[in-house]
Protein backbone atom coordinates (compact mmCIF):
# COMPACT_ATOMS: atom_id res chain seq x y z
CA UNK A 1 0.00 0.00 0.00
CA UNK A 2 1.18 3.49 -0.70
CA UNK A 3 0.62 6.69 1.21
CA UNK A 4 1.08 10.00 -0.52
CA UNK A 5 0.50 13.60 0.43
CA UNK A 6 -2.88 14.94 -0.62
CA UNK A 7 -2.94 16.47 -4.07
CA UNK A 8 -5.61 18.55 -5.83
CA UNK A 9 -8.57 16.65 -7.17
CA UNK A 10 -7.74 15.76 -10.75
CA UNK A 11 -11.21 14.37 -11.14
CA UNK A 12 -12.46 17.93 -11.51
CA UNK A 13 -11.10 18.02 -15.04
CA UNK A 14 -14.06 18.58 -17.40
CA UNK A 15 -15.15 15.65 -19.55
CA UNK A 16 -14.07 15.78 -23.16
CA UNK A 17 -17.60 15.84 -24.50
CA UNK A 18 -19.87 18.27 -22.65
CA UNK A 19 -23.62 17.57 -22.74
CA UNK A 20 -25.70 19.49 -25.25
CA UNK A 21 -28.12 21.08 -22.80
CA UNK A 22 -27.22 22.76 -19.52
CA UNK A 23 -28.42 20.74 -16.58
CA UNK A 24 -29.98 22.13 -13.44
CA UNK A 25 -27.30 22.14 -10.78
CA UNK A 26 -29.05 20.13 -8.12
CA UNK A 27 -31.71 22.63 -7.03
CA UNK A 28 -32.67 20.06 -4.43
CA UNK A 29 -29.81 20.91 -2.18
CA UNK A 30 -30.48 24.60 -2.53
CA UNK A 31 -34.18 24.35 -1.72
CA UNK A 32 -33.75 22.13 1.30
CA UNK A 33 -33.80 23.96 4.57
CA UNK A 34 -30.75 23.35 6.73
CA UNK A 35 -28.62 21.93 3.96
CA UNK A 36 -26.00 20.66 6.39
CA UNK A 37 -28.42 18.61 8.48
CA UNK A 38 -30.05 17.28 5.30
CA UNK A 39 -26.81 15.64 4.27
CA UNK A 40 -26.90 11.88 4.77
CA UNK A 41 -24.58 10.36 7.35
CA UNK A 42 -20.98 9.90 6.33
CA UNK A 43 -20.54 6.20 5.84
CA UNK A 44 -17.17 4.70 5.01
CA UNK A 45 -16.56 1.18 3.75
CA UNK A 46 -13.86 -1.21 4.77
CA UNK A 47 -12.72 -4.79 4.47
CA UNK A 48 -10.27 -6.64 6.69
CA UNK A 49 -8.57 -9.86 5.62
CA UNK A 50 -11.61 -10.65 3.53
CA UNK A 51 -11.69 -13.97 1.67
CA UNK A 52 -14.52 -15.03 -0.61
CA UNK A 53 -14.96 -18.43 -2.22
CA UNK A 54 -17.27 -19.58 -5.00
CA UNK A 55 -17.34 -23.25 -4.04
CA UNK A 56 -13.68 -24.26 -4.02
CA UNK A 57 -12.59 -21.34 -6.20
CA UNK A 58 -11.18 -18.47 -4.14
CA UNK A 59 -12.29 -15.18 -5.73
CA UNK A 60 -10.96 -12.75 -3.11
CA UNK A 61 -7.72 -13.27 -1.19
CA UNK A 62 -7.19 -11.47 2.11
CA UNK A 63 -8.46 -8.13 0.84
CA UNK A 64 -8.02 -5.26 3.29
CA UNK A 65 -8.94 -1.71 2.36
CA UNK A 66 -10.66 1.46 3.52
CA UNK A 67 -12.91 3.52 1.25
CA UNK A 68 -13.59 6.95 2.76
CA UNK A 69 -17.05 8.52 3.05
CA UNK A 70 -18.38 11.08 0.57
CA UNK A 71 -15.75 10.43 -2.02
CA UNK A 72 -15.45 8.34 -5.16
CA UNK A 73 -13.36 5.20 -5.04
CA UNK A 74 -12.55 3.30 -8.18
CA UNK A 75 -11.65 -0.38 -8.37
CA UNK A 76 -9.70 -1.32 -11.50
CA UNK A 77 -8.16 -4.53 -12.75
CA UNK A 78 -8.42 -7.04 -15.58
CA UNK A 79 -11.49 -9.25 -16.11
CA UNK A 80 -11.88 -11.89 -13.45
CA UNK A 81 -9.69 -10.12 -10.91
CA UNK A 82 -12.49 -10.02 -8.35
CA UNK A 83 -13.37 -6.34 -8.55
CA UNK A 84 -17.10 -6.93 -9.12
CA UNK A 85 -17.10 -9.62 -6.46
CA UNK A 86 -15.59 -7.17 -3.99
CA UNK A 87 -18.16 -4.53 -4.93
CA UNK A 88 -21.02 -6.98 -4.50
CA UNK A 89 -19.72 -7.92 -1.08
CA UNK A 90 -20.71 -4.51 0.26
CA UNK A 91 -24.42 -5.16 -0.37
CA UNK A 92 -24.22 -8.96 -0.29
CA UNK A 93 -25.50 -9.40 -3.82
CA UNK A 94 -23.15 -12.38 -3.95
CA UNK A 95 -25.60 -14.18 -1.65
CA UNK A 96 -27.64 -14.96 -4.76
CA UNK A 97 -24.91 -17.24 -6.09
CA UNK A 98 -25.07 -20.72 -4.58
CA UNK A 99 -21.96 -21.96 -2.81
CA UNK A 100 -20.59 -18.57 -1.74
CA UNK A 101 -18.52 -18.61 1.47
CA UNK A 102 -16.74 -15.73 3.18
CA UNK A 103 -14.08 -15.18 5.84
CA UNK A 104 -12.96 -11.96 7.42
CA UNK A 105 -14.86 -8.73 7.90
CA UNK A 106 -16.59 -6.27 5.60
CA UNK A 107 -18.02 -3.14 7.13
CA UNK A 108 -20.44 -0.51 5.88
CA UNK A 109 -20.27 2.28 8.42
CA UNK A 110 -20.58 0.45 11.70
CA UNK A 111 -22.49 -2.47 10.21
CA UNK A 112 -20.70 -5.79 9.99
CA UNK A 113 -22.01 -6.90 6.61
CA UNK A 114 -21.61 -10.66 6.96
CA UNK A 115 -22.61 -10.94 10.62
CA UNK A 116 -25.52 -13.35 11.07
CA UNK A 117 -27.62 -10.66 12.75
CA UNK A 118 -27.33 -8.26 9.81
CA UNK A 119 -30.61 -7.60 8.02
CA UNK A 120 -29.75 -7.96 4.33
CA UNK A 121 -32.88 -6.12 3.21
CA UNK A 122 -32.02 -3.08 5.37
CA UNK A 123 -28.36 -3.27 4.29
CA UNK A 124 -29.32 -3.18 0.62
CA UNK A 125 -31.57 -0.21 1.20
CA UNK A 126 -28.62 1.69 2.67
CA UNK A 127 -26.20 0.47 0.01
CA UNK A 128 -27.67 1.14 -3.43
CA UNK A 129 -26.38 -0.42 -6.61
CA UNK A 130 -26.20 0.54 -10.27
CA UNK A 131 -25.54 -2.31 -12.67
CA UNK A 132 -23.45 -2.65 -15.80
CA UNK A 133 -26.40 -2.94 -18.15
CA UNK A 134 -29.22 -0.47 -17.51
CA UNK A 135 -31.99 -2.59 -15.95
CA UNK A 136 -35.13 -0.52 -15.52
CA UNK A 137 -38.28 -2.48 -14.71
CA UNK A 138 -40.80 -2.91 -17.54
CA UNK A 139 -42.92 -0.21 -15.93
CA UNK A 140 -43.37 3.52 -16.47
CA UNK A 141 -40.56 5.99 -15.79
CA UNK A 142 -42.43 7.22 -12.73
CA UNK A 143 -43.10 3.74 -11.35
CA UNK A 144 -39.45 2.79 -11.74
CA UNK A 145 -38.36 5.53 -9.38
CA UNK A 146 -41.38 5.09 -7.10
CA UNK A 147 -40.70 1.36 -6.76
CA UNK A 148 -38.26 1.64 -3.87
CA UNK A 149 -40.43 4.24 -2.14
CA UNK A 150 -43.49 2.00 -2.25
CA UNK A 151 -41.28 -0.81 -0.99
CA UNK A 152 -40.54 1.32 2.07
CA UNK A 153 -44.27 1.65 2.65
CA UNK A 154 -44.80 5.17 1.33
CA UNK A 155 -48.44 5.62 0.29
CA UNK A 156 -48.92 9.39 0.12
CA UNK A 157 -49.13 10.16 -3.62
CA UNK A 158 -47.95 13.75 -3.19
CA UNK A 159 -44.87 12.75 -1.23
CA UNK A 160 -44.02 9.98 -3.70
CA UNK A 161 -44.32 12.46 -6.59
CA UNK A 162 -42.04 14.95 -4.84
CA UNK A 163 -39.44 12.31 -4.08
CA UNK A 164 -39.56 10.95 -7.64
CA UNK A 165 -39.00 14.45 -8.99
CA UNK A 166 -36.11 15.07 -6.61
CA UNK A 167 -34.45 11.77 -7.50
CA UNK A 168 -34.80 12.44 -11.22
CA UNK A 169 -33.31 15.90 -10.69
CA UNK A 170 -30.39 14.41 -8.78
CA UNK A 171 -29.85 11.93 -11.59
CA UNK A 172 -29.94 14.78 -14.16
CA UNK A 173 -32.84 13.21 -16.00
CA UNK A 174 -35.77 15.36 -14.92
CA UNK A 175 -35.73 17.90 -17.75
CA UNK A 176 -35.72 15.10 -20.33
CA UNK A 177 -38.60 13.08 -18.89
CA UNK A 178 -40.74 15.53 -16.90
CA UNK A 179 -43.55 15.52 -19.49
CA UNK A 180 -43.53 11.78 -20.17
CA UNK A 181 -43.32 10.18 -16.74
CA UNK A 182 -46.04 7.69 -17.62
CA UNK A 183 -44.22 6.38 -20.69
CA UNK A 184 -42.53 2.95 -20.50
CA UNK A 185 -39.00 3.23 -19.16
CA UNK A 186 -37.77 0.79 -21.79
CA UNK A 187 -38.44 3.40 -24.50
CA UNK A 188 -35.65 5.62 -23.14
CA UNK A 189 -32.17 5.54 -24.67
CA UNK A 190 -29.47 3.47 -23.01
CA UNK A 191 -27.88 6.46 -21.30
CA UNK A 192 -31.24 7.74 -20.08
CA UNK A 193 -32.11 4.28 -18.79
CA UNK A 194 -28.89 4.19 -16.80
CA UNK A 195 -29.62 7.61 -15.28
CA UNK A 196 -33.12 6.35 -14.50
CA UNK A 197 -31.55 3.41 -12.67
CA UNK A 198 -29.41 5.88 -10.73
CA UNK A 199 -32.54 7.90 -9.85
CA UNK A 200 -34.27 4.70 -8.74
CA UNK A 201 -31.31 3.93 -6.55
CA UNK A 202 -31.13 7.45 -5.06
CA UNK A 203 -34.87 7.58 -4.33
CA UNK A 204 -34.56 5.38 -1.25
CA UNK A 205 -31.81 7.66 0.10
CA UNK A 206 -28.95 5.22 0.40
CA UNK A 207 -25.71 6.14 2.17
CA UNK A 208 -23.55 4.33 -0.34
CA UNK A 209 -23.89 3.90 -4.12
CA UNK A 210 -22.09 0.96 -5.71
CA UNK A 211 -21.60 1.17 -9.47
CA UNK A 212 -20.58 -1.89 -11.43
CA UNK A 213 -19.12 -0.59 -14.71
CA UNK A 214 -22.00 1.89 -14.97
CA UNK A 215 -20.94 3.28 -18.35
CA UNK A 216 -19.48 0.29 -20.15
CA UNK A 217 -22.68 -0.29 -22.15
CA UNK A 218 -23.03 3.38 -23.12
CA UNK A 219 -21.71 5.61 -25.88
CA UNK A 220 -19.12 8.35 -25.14
CA UNK A 221 -21.67 11.16 -24.71
CA UNK A 222 -23.80 9.16 -22.30
CA UNK A 223 -20.63 8.05 -20.52
CA UNK A 224 -19.59 11.68 -20.03
CA UNK A 225 -22.95 12.49 -18.49
CA UNK A 226 -22.73 9.56 -16.08
CA UNK A 227 -19.22 10.59 -15.06
CA UNK A 228 -20.34 14.16 -14.47
CA UNK A 229 -23.19 12.82 -12.39
CA UNK A 230 -20.84 10.72 -10.27
CA UNK A 231 -18.82 13.84 -9.47
CA UNK A 232 -21.96 15.72 -8.45
CA UNK A 233 -23.23 12.91 -6.27
CA UNK A 234 -20.13 12.44 -4.18
CA UNK A 235 -21.00 15.41 -1.99
CA UNK A 236 -23.88 13.37 -0.59
CA UNK A 237 -22.95 9.75 -1.08
CA UNK A 238 -20.06 7.38 -0.66
CA UNK A 239 -19.48 6.06 -4.15
CA UNK A 240 -17.58 3.01 -5.34
CA UNK A 241 -17.13 2.51 -9.07
CA UNK A 242 -15.83 -0.65 -10.67
CA UNK A 243 -14.45 0.06 -14.11
CA UNK A 244 -12.44 -1.47 -16.91
CA UNK A 245 -11.68 1.98 -18.17
CA UNK A 246 -8.57 3.46 -16.55
CA UNK A 247 -9.20 6.91 -18.00
CA UNK A 248 -12.58 6.82 -16.36
CA UNK A 249 -11.08 5.85 -13.02
CA UNK A 250 -8.63 8.72 -13.38
CA UNK A 251 -11.40 11.18 -14.27
CA UNK A 252 -13.94 10.41 -11.58
CA UNK A 253 -12.24 8.90 -8.58
CA UNK A 254 -10.42 10.25 -5.53
CA UNK A 255 -8.93 6.92 -4.62
CA UNK A 256 -8.17 3.94 -6.82
CA UNK A 257 -7.67 0.31 -5.90
CA UNK A 258 -5.92 -2.05 -8.30
CA UNK A 259 -6.79 -5.73 -8.08
CA UNK A 260 -5.30 -8.79 -9.73
CA UNK A 261 -6.23 -12.47 -9.33
CA UNK A 262 -8.40 -11.79 -6.29
CA UNK A 263 -5.74 -9.81 -4.47
CA UNK A 264 -5.62 -6.13 -3.74
CA UNK A 265 -2.29 -5.11 -5.24
CA UNK A 266 -2.33 -1.44 -4.41
CA UNK A 267 -4.67 1.28 -3.23
CA UNK A 268 -3.95 4.95 -3.07
CA UNK A 269 -4.91 8.45 -3.99
CA UNK A 270 -5.85 8.30 -7.68
CA UNK A 271 -3.33 10.71 -9.15
CA UNK A 272 -0.51 9.16 -7.19
CA UNK A 273 -1.48 5.66 -8.26
CA UNK A 274 -1.55 6.59 -11.90
CA UNK A 275 1.57 8.76 -11.92
CA UNK A 276 3.78 7.06 -9.37
CA UNK A 277 2.52 3.49 -8.85
CA UNK A 278 4.16 1.82 -5.90
CA UNK A 279 4.17 -1.68 -7.36
CA UNK A 280 5.62 -3.02 -10.59
CA UNK A 281 2.37 -4.93 -11.31
CA UNK A 282 0.34 -1.73 -11.07
CA UNK A 283 2.69 0.07 -13.39
CA UNK A 284 2.56 -2.77 -15.93
CA UNK A 285 -1.23 -2.75 -15.86
CA UNK A 286 -1.80 0.99 -16.15
CA UNK A 287 0.75 1.29 -18.90
CA UNK A 288 -1.09 -1.41 -20.82
CA UNK A 289 1.51 -4.15 -20.64
CA UNK A 290 -1.17 -6.71 -19.73
CA UNK A 291 -4.86 -6.96 -18.99
Amino acid sequence: MIETRPTPDIAAAPPADPPATPRPSLPVRATESGAASALPPRVALSARKFNLYYGTNQALRAVSLELPAHSVSAIIGPSGCGKSTLLRSFNRMNDLIPGVRTEGVVQVGDVNVFAPATDVVELRRRVGMVFQRPNPFPKSIFENVAFGLRLLGLRNRGEIEARVERSLLQAALWTEVRDRLERPALQLSGGQQQRLCIARCLAVEPDVVLMDEPASALDPTATARIEELILELKARYTIVVVTHNMQQAARVSDRTAFMLNGELIEIGETRALFTRPGKKLTEDYITGRFG
Partner: protein, 292 residues
Protein backbone atom coordinates in the same frame (compact mmCIF):
# COMPACT_ATOMS: atom_id res chain seq x y z
CA UNK B 1 -7.51 -41.91 -46.96
CA UNK B 2 -4.47 -40.37 -48.58
CA UNK B 3 -3.57 -37.02 -47.16
CA UNK B 4 -3.69 -34.06 -49.57
CA UNK B 5 -0.89 -31.60 -48.99
CA UNK B 6 -2.15 -27.99 -48.69
CA UNK B 7 0.13 -26.84 -51.51
CA UNK B 8 -1.51 -29.34 -53.89
CA UNK B 9 -5.00 -27.91 -53.36
CA UNK B 10 -6.65 -26.60 -56.53
CA UNK B 11 -8.83 -23.50 -56.39
CA UNK B 12 -12.45 -24.25 -55.57
CA UNK B 13 -14.74 -23.96 -58.59
CA UNK B 14 -17.22 -21.35 -57.49
CA UNK B 15 -20.03 -22.13 -59.94
CA UNK B 16 -23.73 -22.03 -59.02
CA UNK B 17 -25.52 -25.11 -57.66
CA UNK B 18 -26.03 -28.00 -60.05
CA UNK B 19 -29.42 -28.50 -61.80
CA UNK B 20 -30.09 -31.47 -59.49
CA UNK B 21 -29.60 -29.30 -56.42
CA UNK B 22 -31.86 -26.63 -57.85
CA UNK B 23 -34.55 -29.26 -58.42
CA UNK B 24 -34.26 -30.54 -54.84
CA UNK B 25 -34.51 -26.96 -53.61
CA UNK B 26 -37.70 -26.36 -55.64
CA UNK B 27 -39.23 -29.63 -54.48
CA UNK B 28 -38.51 -28.83 -50.82
CA UNK B 29 -40.18 -25.46 -51.09
CA UNK B 30 -43.25 -26.97 -52.76
CA UNK B 31 -43.43 -29.77 -50.17
CA UNK B 32 -43.25 -27.30 -47.30
CA UNK B 33 -46.03 -25.21 -48.80
CA UNK B 34 -48.18 -28.31 -49.30
CA UNK B 35 -47.64 -29.37 -45.69
CA UNK B 36 -48.63 -25.90 -44.51
CA UNK B 37 -51.75 -26.08 -46.66
CA UNK B 38 -52.64 -29.48 -45.18
CA UNK B 39 -52.70 -27.89 -41.70
CA UNK B 40 -55.51 -25.64 -42.88
CA UNK B 41 -57.61 -28.48 -44.31
CA UNK B 42 -58.98 -30.00 -41.05
CA UNK B 43 -59.84 -26.58 -39.65
CA UNK B 44 -61.56 -25.57 -42.87
CA UNK B 45 -63.46 -28.85 -43.02
CA UNK B 46 -64.64 -28.55 -39.43
CA UNK B 47 -65.80 -24.99 -39.81
CA UNK B 48 -67.49 -25.70 -43.15
CA UNK B 49 -69.24 -28.80 -41.77
CA UNK B 50 -70.43 -27.05 -38.64
CA UNK B 51 -71.71 -24.07 -40.57
CA UNK B 52 -73.44 -26.28 -43.14
CA UNK B 53 -75.21 -28.46 -40.58
CA UNK B 54 -75.36 -26.27 -37.52
CA UNK B 55 -76.41 -22.90 -38.83
CA UNK B 56 -79.94 -24.18 -39.51
CA UNK B 57 -80.40 -25.01 -35.82
CA UNK B 58 -79.21 -21.66 -34.52
CA UNK B 59 -81.91 -19.21 -33.53
CA UNK B 60 -82.77 -17.15 -30.48
CA UNK B 61 -84.71 -20.08 -28.97
CA UNK B 62 -81.58 -22.17 -29.06
CA UNK B 63 -79.85 -19.78 -26.65
CA UNK B 64 -82.84 -18.90 -24.47
CA UNK B 65 -84.93 -22.08 -24.22
CA UNK B 66 -84.60 -25.34 -22.39
CA UNK B 67 -84.36 -28.66 -24.20
CA UNK B 68 -87.77 -29.78 -25.50
CA UNK B 69 -89.22 -33.07 -24.25
CA UNK B 70 -88.75 -36.12 -26.46
CA UNK B 71 -91.00 -36.05 -29.50
CA UNK B 72 -91.57 -32.33 -29.33
CA UNK B 73 -89.75 -30.18 -31.88
CA UNK B 74 -87.81 -27.01 -31.06
CA UNK B 75 -86.30 -26.09 -27.73
CA UNK B 76 -82.75 -24.98 -27.00
CA UNK B 77 -79.65 -25.54 -24.94
CA UNK B 78 -79.75 -22.60 -22.56
CA UNK B 79 -78.95 -24.84 -19.61
CA UNK B 80 -76.01 -26.47 -21.39
CA UNK B 81 -74.47 -23.13 -22.40
CA UNK B 82 -74.74 -21.79 -18.86
CA UNK B 83 -73.56 -25.15 -17.52
CA UNK B 84 -70.42 -25.15 -19.64
CA UNK B 85 -69.60 -21.59 -18.53
CA UNK B 86 -70.08 -22.62 -14.89
CA UNK B 87 -67.99 -25.76 -15.19
CA UNK B 88 -65.19 -23.87 -16.85
CA UNK B 89 -65.49 -21.15 -14.21
CA UNK B 90 -65.20 -23.65 -11.36
CA UNK B 91 -62.25 -25.33 -13.07
CA UNK B 92 -60.44 -22.00 -13.55
CA UNK B 93 -61.13 -20.93 -9.97
CA UNK B 94 -59.32 -24.08 -8.80
CA UNK B 95 -56.64 -24.61 -11.44
CA UNK B 96 -55.39 -21.04 -12.01
CA UNK B 97 -54.38 -20.16 -8.41
CA UNK B 98 -52.96 -23.63 -7.70
CA UNK B 99 -51.23 -23.88 -11.06
CA UNK B 100 -49.72 -20.39 -11.00
CA UNK B 101 -48.58 -20.89 -7.40
CA UNK B 102 -46.96 -24.22 -8.21
CA UNK B 103 -45.36 -22.80 -11.36
CA UNK B 104 -43.90 -19.90 -9.36
CA UNK B 105 -42.53 -22.35 -6.81
CA UNK B 106 -40.86 -24.41 -9.54
CA UNK B 107 -39.34 -21.33 -11.18
CA UNK B 108 -38.16 -19.62 -8.00
CA UNK B 109 -37.23 -22.59 -5.78
CA UNK B 110 -37.04 -25.32 -8.39
CA UNK B 111 -33.69 -26.83 -7.46
CA UNK B 112 -34.65 -29.41 -4.86
CA UNK B 113 -35.80 -32.99 -5.02
CA UNK B 114 -39.38 -32.01 -4.17
CA UNK B 115 -39.47 -29.63 -7.15
CA UNK B 116 -38.24 -32.40 -9.44
CA UNK B 117 -41.04 -34.61 -8.12
CA UNK B 118 -43.65 -31.89 -8.72
CA UNK B 119 -42.35 -31.28 -12.24
CA UNK B 120 -42.36 -34.99 -13.04
CA UNK B 121 -45.87 -35.39 -11.61
CA UNK B 122 -47.17 -32.50 -13.69
CA UNK B 123 -45.69 -34.05 -16.82
CA UNK B 124 -47.25 -37.43 -16.02
CA UNK B 125 -50.59 -35.76 -15.28
CA UNK B 126 -50.61 -34.02 -18.65
CA UNK B 127 -50.29 -37.44 -20.29
CA UNK B 128 -53.19 -39.03 -18.40
CA UNK B 129 -56.15 -39.61 -20.76
CA UNK B 130 -59.07 -37.36 -19.91
CA UNK B 131 -61.45 -40.27 -19.43
CA UNK B 132 -59.13 -41.66 -16.73
CA UNK B 133 -59.24 -38.29 -14.99
CA UNK B 134 -63.05 -38.54 -15.16
CA UNK B 135 -63.08 -42.01 -13.60
CA UNK B 136 -60.63 -40.96 -10.88
CA UNK B 137 -62.72 -37.90 -10.03
CA UNK B 138 -65.78 -40.16 -9.90
CA UNK B 139 -64.06 -42.24 -7.25
CA UNK B 140 -62.64 -39.28 -5.33
CA UNK B 141 -65.56 -36.82 -5.44
CA UNK B 142 -68.76 -38.35 -6.80
CA UNK B 143 -68.74 -41.49 -4.63
CA UNK B 144 -68.07 -39.69 -1.31
CA UNK B 145 -70.64 -36.98 -2.17
CA UNK B 146 -73.17 -39.59 -3.13
CA UNK B 147 -74.20 -37.86 -6.38
CA UNK B 148 -72.99 -36.38 -9.63
CA UNK B 149 -72.40 -32.66 -9.38
CA UNK B 150 -71.18 -29.48 -11.07
CA UNK B 151 -68.42 -29.37 -8.48
CA UNK B 152 -67.14 -32.81 -9.47
CA UNK B 153 -67.17 -31.79 -13.15
CA UNK B 154 -65.26 -28.60 -12.35
CA UNK B 155 -62.68 -30.53 -10.37
CA UNK B 156 -62.18 -33.01 -13.22
CA UNK B 157 -61.61 -30.16 -15.67
CA UNK B 158 -59.29 -28.42 -13.19
CA UNK B 159 -57.13 -31.55 -12.98
CA UNK B 160 -56.84 -31.50 -16.76
CA UNK B 161 -55.89 -27.81 -16.83
CA UNK B 162 -53.41 -27.97 -13.98
CA UNK B 163 -50.29 -29.41 -15.67
CA UNK B 164 -50.53 -26.97 -18.59
CA UNK B 165 -50.74 -23.98 -16.26
CA UNK B 166 -47.98 -25.22 -13.95
CA UNK B 167 -45.42 -25.88 -16.63
CA UNK B 168 -46.17 -22.78 -18.72
CA UNK B 169 -46.10 -20.55 -15.65
CA UNK B 170 -42.72 -22.01 -14.71
CA UNK B 171 -41.41 -21.32 -18.18
CA UNK B 172 -42.60 -17.74 -18.54
CA UNK B 173 -41.43 -16.88 -15.00
CA UNK B 174 -38.00 -18.24 -15.85
CA UNK B 175 -37.96 -15.97 -18.90
CA UNK B 176 -38.21 -12.86 -16.70
CA UNK B 177 -34.71 -11.38 -16.95
CA UNK B 178 -32.47 -11.92 -13.95
CA UNK B 179 -31.54 -8.23 -14.12
CA UNK B 180 -35.07 -7.23 -12.97
CA UNK B 181 -34.72 -9.44 -9.91
CA UNK B 182 -31.26 -8.08 -9.14
CA UNK B 183 -32.47 -4.50 -9.46
CA UNK B 184 -35.32 -5.12 -7.04
CA UNK B 185 -33.16 -7.03 -4.57
CA UNK B 186 -30.51 -4.31 -4.65
CA UNK B 187 -33.21 -1.80 -3.67
CA UNK B 188 -33.83 -3.84 -0.55
CA UNK B 189 -36.87 -5.81 -1.66
CA UNK B 190 -37.45 -9.13 0.12
CA UNK B 191 -37.80 -12.11 -2.20
CA UNK B 192 -41.61 -12.33 -1.96
CA UNK B 193 -41.89 -8.63 -2.84
CA UNK B 194 -39.62 -9.14 -5.84
CA UNK B 195 -41.88 -11.94 -7.04
CA UNK B 196 -45.10 -10.05 -6.35
CA UNK B 197 -44.06 -6.63 -7.66
CA UNK B 198 -41.64 -7.41 -10.48
CA UNK B 199 -41.63 -11.04 -11.58
CA UNK B 200 -45.40 -11.69 -11.66
CA UNK B 201 -46.29 -8.49 -13.56
CA UNK B 202 -43.54 -9.17 -16.08
CA UNK B 203 -44.80 -12.72 -16.58
CA UNK B 204 -48.53 -11.93 -16.41
CA UNK B 205 -49.12 -11.89 -20.17
CA UNK B 206 -47.63 -15.35 -20.58
CA UNK B 207 -49.50 -16.71 -17.57
CA UNK B 208 -52.81 -15.33 -18.91
CA UNK B 209 -52.17 -16.88 -22.31
CA UNK B 210 -51.40 -20.28 -20.80
CA UNK B 211 -54.44 -20.17 -18.52
CA UNK B 212 -56.82 -19.24 -21.33
CA UNK B 213 -55.35 -21.91 -23.58
CA UNK B 214 -55.89 -24.53 -20.89
CA UNK B 215 -59.39 -23.15 -20.34
CA UNK B 216 -60.43 -23.39 -23.96
CA UNK B 217 -59.19 -26.98 -24.16
CA UNK B 218 -61.10 -27.88 -20.99
CA UNK B 219 -64.29 -26.28 -22.34
CA UNK B 220 -64.49 -28.95 -25.04
CA UNK B 221 -63.81 -31.99 -22.85
CA UNK B 222 -66.62 -34.57 -22.82
CA UNK B 223 -65.20 -37.76 -21.33
CA UNK B 224 -64.35 -36.48 -17.85
CA UNK B 225 -67.79 -34.90 -17.51
CA UNK B 226 -69.68 -38.13 -18.22
CA UNK B 227 -68.80 -39.55 -14.79
CA UNK B 228 -68.79 -36.30 -12.86
CA UNK B 229 -71.16 -33.56 -13.97
CA UNK B 230 -73.25 -36.20 -15.76
CA UNK B 231 -75.60 -33.84 -17.60
CA UNK B 232 -79.01 -32.48 -16.82
CA UNK B 233 -82.08 -31.92 -18.96
CA UNK B 234 -83.34 -29.30 -16.56
CA UNK B 235 -82.19 -25.89 -15.41
CA UNK B 236 -79.68 -26.08 -12.58
CA UNK B 237 -76.94 -23.84 -11.32
CA UNK B 238 -76.46 -25.66 -8.02
CA UNK B 239 -72.88 -26.75 -7.34
CA UNK B 240 -73.95 -30.02 -5.72
CA UNK B 241 -76.35 -31.10 -8.47
CA UNK B 242 -75.70 -32.63 -11.88
CA UNK B 243 -75.30 -29.92 -14.48
CA UNK B 244 -75.71 -29.79 -18.25
CA UNK B 245 -72.79 -28.98 -20.52
CA UNK B 246 -72.41 -28.42 -24.25
CA UNK B 247 -70.02 -31.33 -24.94
CA UNK B 248 -72.18 -33.88 -23.13
CA UNK B 249 -75.28 -32.41 -24.74
CA UNK B 250 -73.71 -32.76 -28.19
CA UNK B 251 -72.64 -36.30 -27.37
CA UNK B 252 -76.19 -37.29 -26.36
CA UNK B 253 -78.01 -35.50 -29.16
CA UNK B 254 -75.67 -36.68 -31.91
CA UNK B 255 -76.37 -40.33 -30.98
CA UNK B 256 -80.12 -39.84 -30.71
CA UNK B 257 -82.41 -41.29 -33.39
CA UNK B 258 -84.26 -38.00 -33.96
CA UNK B 259 -83.32 -35.72 -36.87
CA UNK B 260 -84.27 -32.63 -34.86
CA UNK B 261 -81.88 -33.60 -32.05
CA UNK B 262 -79.10 -34.31 -34.53
CA UNK B 263 -79.54 -30.85 -35.97
CA UNK B 264 -79.38 -29.36 -32.49
CA UNK B 265 -76.15 -31.30 -31.83
CA UNK B 266 -74.61 -29.62 -34.86
CA UNK B 267 -75.78 -26.25 -33.63
CA UNK B 268 -74.35 -26.99 -30.18
CA UNK B 269 -71.00 -27.86 -31.72
CA UNK B 270 -71.02 -24.61 -33.64
CA UNK B 271 -71.75 -22.65 -30.45
CA UNK B 272 -68.97 -24.44 -28.57
CA UNK B 273 -66.48 -23.72 -31.34
CA UNK B 274 -67.52 -20.07 -31.39
CA UNK B 275 -67.11 -19.81 -27.61
CA UNK B 276 -63.61 -21.25 -27.77
CA UNK B 277 -62.69 -19.03 -30.72
CA UNK B 278 -63.96 -15.99 -28.82
CA UNK B 279 -61.83 -16.91 -25.81
CA UNK B 280 -58.68 -17.32 -27.89
CA UNK B 281 -59.42 -14.09 -29.77
CA UNK B 282 -59.80 -12.31 -26.45
CA UNK B 283 -56.56 -13.93 -25.33
CA UNK B 284 -54.63 -12.61 -28.29
CA UNK B 285 -56.05 -9.12 -27.91
CA UNK B 286 -55.25 -8.89 -24.20
CA UNK B 287 -51.76 -10.36 -24.39
CA UNK B 288 -50.83 -8.05 -27.24
CA UNK B 289 -51.98 -5.10 -25.16
CA UNK B 290 -50.09 -6.24 -22.05
CA UNK B 291 -46.90 -7.07 -23.90
CA UNK B 292 -46.82 -3.67 -25.51
Amino acid sequence: MSRVRPEDLRPLRLGGPSPARRAVDRASVVAAHLAALLVLVPVALIVWHLLAHGLAGINLDFFLHMPAPVGEAGGGMANAIVGTLMLVGIAAAIAVPVGVGAGLFLAEHGGGRFATLVRYTADVLSGVPSIVVGVATYGLVVVPMGRFSALAGGIALAILMLPVIVRSTEEVVRLVPQSYRQAALALGAPHWKVVQQVVLPAASAGIATASLLALSRAAGETAPLLFTALGNRFWSTALDQPIASLPVFIFDYARAPYADWNRQAWAGALVLLTLVALVSGLLRATTRRIVR
